[in-house]
Subunit: 387 residues, 2 copies
DNA sequence: CCCCGCCCTGAATCGAATC
DNA sequence: GGATTCGATTCAGGGCGGG
């Protein structure tokens, strides 16, 4: 870093290692008291180590630049102190929370499923490209589409044109990007993985680069590891400088830069909501039944929490406009290898033919609304006959 | 707090004020340099203030208790230092992120849309009730259902029994609850609001109480403000102690405890907790049918929009623990002057006697969950008979 | 009592099979 | 034949057991 000129880079991202190993080796060597002492020593060393480098980073960062510090869960407070000291409290911009879902375990307590990234600027003239996210589901659509004005008493209301109609305002971008980022954790099977242990998803770096730099700007990663920052920067037309003490890291970064691989994630493409379309419908039909939702299988909708002779019980709800025969076939197909002895199909429409296509493991039940309307219809028919 | 005995409370929740006012008044009076100095002074005072109280809290907390510290965004690192000092680093359990969507402003930078709650225990025997959330949208059922094994090369695959069928495991409740909690911010118009500035949503406190205490346990809130903690605790059958220096706060807390109001957030409709039970049952049962809710009649719950031979059709749902005979009687009473020729009573529990008390205008229909459990029970009986 | 390594778990991609 | 579906797979956190 010493080779870099003053105020020469636009953005710095770093994800330095936290010395947990060192701490552990020390703990095994000495008694408990020493373990504590040593661990504290290590922390002080660690902070000194970080601060020395932060001073250099502050020097090479441009006046309108910003720095993103990716923290270990155990050191966030130490790092924020160091940052306050070297960049100044008044330049603390955001505490970014990167949240993700990950393979679970049965630990006592809550699942750790976030990491912290501190954003600091060098001055309040820092460069920032506003990004937008979609509106909350509960936002009133009128609010987005209609222009608002204020009357004489400064009371806000929808603006009205000369014909008395509300004025529709187009292309509202959305809500300014939140500081909580839900970005999938790099999956064990992802092609994007290159074998480096703490590899970060490209999308995370892309977002950081997007909000803080323009095309042609420069990015520094002083602990570049597998080189994710460099790959993201080069794909986005930014210059980048990566530094790492390990030769291995430099090699991986080089090879990744030559052949960048980005995961084509379906989840990222279509978004989480795409999976959840029928959720509310389901929960209202299955109210009072203890179940687990099944998201990714067209033949099954829910798994009951109770069992029948130790075999799972599934539920499926007939789709609107779907023939009952089709529904049974789909369900039967999905049940093939699941070892279920009883499962339930809930019919929501009267079938137009007798059920001659029944299946041994599937019980067809009428939804309540169907029972009610059926019952009314039969009463009416009786009434007609009586008349 | 000094009146409380050692190790006497199970959980402590606190959300103390951060001294921003003092800091600001100082900053406006003096030049920039002084502003800094003074602000630091204030921070040290603040930390001393917090630490003194944390020591008392540590004293009154039970051995298996835990503490939840709701932090101001500007002081998270200071607070974590104080907590590490007084509770011990090894008792740091979780950094809980409460995220919400809020009304946007056009500030430069990311929208602040989270707050931090630190969870510390007094020992590693802390009480913890595991809560579960639903599986990810991308999880497939086979993983939940099927046992896996490893071959000689330690490669994982689904286990197969001697008949070549996959082995079904026990059902799971879901994934252990994450440390990132998406709970709607108290809407400015919400009924739940009682005018206190930093009021927290009941749901947030309910979750904290749920994971850390059992019925009959005690909760202390030493900065109780508007008393949300006390309201949540009393609704959940826990004892609670609230302390506040402001008489106003104590008054508000008292009145809220007498008349608790909870917002039914539309965002949480899908979650079973937030749902008004009878409303939800109705919407489930009447899914796909047009109806009007009947609010203040013990004998009737809804009026269908369709009619039977020009006479109204009513719906009633059997109450939990209510005998079917009682239900019919109540309904019949309410129907007396309504001129209905067909109405429906939805049974939610199997009746212990044959219905010899039927009523000409009332049709009894089984709820869906009852149909399913009844069907399972009869299958099991058949199986027994066959054996 | 501590440490190492095996085991269980589930997110999300992969990729074969199916539509 | 392109898109979709869904069974299979990998890997790391943390528990637990054995040395």
């Amino acid at each position: 870093m010493q080779d870099l000129r003053d105020e020469s880079v636009n953005t710095i991202y770093l994800d330095p290692p936290f010395m947990t190993n060192k701490k552990q080796s020390l703990s095994s060597r000495d008694g408990e008291h020493f373990y504590y002492e040593d661990s504290w020593e290590t922390k002080e060393d660690y902070i000194r180590f970080i601060e020395e480098r932060l001073i250099e980073m502050h020097r090479v960062l441009r006046h309108d630049g910003s720095l993103f510090f990716h923290c270990d869960r155990n050191a966030t407070h130490l790092i924020r102190f160091a940052l306050d000291k070297i960049f100044g409290e008044e330049n603390f911009i955001s505490e970014i929370i990167w949240t993700y879902r990950r393979w679970s375990n049965s630990k006592k307590g809550l699942m750790n499923s976030h990491q912290t990234i501190y954003m600091y600027s060098k001055s309040d003239e820092f460069k920032f490209n506003q990004m937008y996210q979609s509106y909350s589901e509960t936002t009133n659509i009128d609010q987005i589409l209609q222009l608002r004005s204020r009357d004489a008493n400064n009371k806000a209301s929808y603006a009205i044109d000369k014909d008395g109609k509300t004025i529709v305002k187009n292309n509202k971008a959305g809500v300014p990007l939140s500081d909580v980022w839900d970005i999938p954790f790099l999956n064990p099977k992802a092609k994007e993985r290159c074998g480096y242990p703490t590899q970060k998803p490209l999308l995370l770096l892309e977002r950081i680069i997007e909000i803080s730099t323009d095309v042609g700007d420069s990015i520094l990663d002083p602990f570049c590891g597998s080189g994710t920052t460099l790959v993201a920067a080069s794909q986005m037309g930014r210059f980048s400088i990566g530094i790492d003490i390990a030769q291995e890291a430099v090699d991986i970064s080089r090879s990744r830069l030559e052949k960048p691989v980005k995961t084509e994630s379906r989840l990222l493409e279509v978004g989480r909501d795409a999976y959840n379309q029928s959720l509310s419908e389901l929960s209202s039909i299955l109210y009072g039944i203890d179940y687990t939702l099944i998201q990714r299988n067209k033949g099954l909708d829910a798994l009951l929490s109770s069992k029948y002779s130790d075999k799972p019980i599934f539920i499926r709800i007939q789709r609107q406009g779907e023939d009952l025969r089709q529904a049974i076939q789909k369900m039967a197909l999905s049940l093939r290898n699941k070892g279920s002895e009883v499962s339930f199909l809930i019919a929501i429409e009267p079938s137009n033919s007798l059920i001659d296509y029944s299946h041994p493991n599937i019980v067809v039940i009428n939804s309540l609304s169907m029972s009610i309307s059926g019952s009314i219809a039969s009463k009416q028919n009786n009434a007609k006959v009586l008349m």
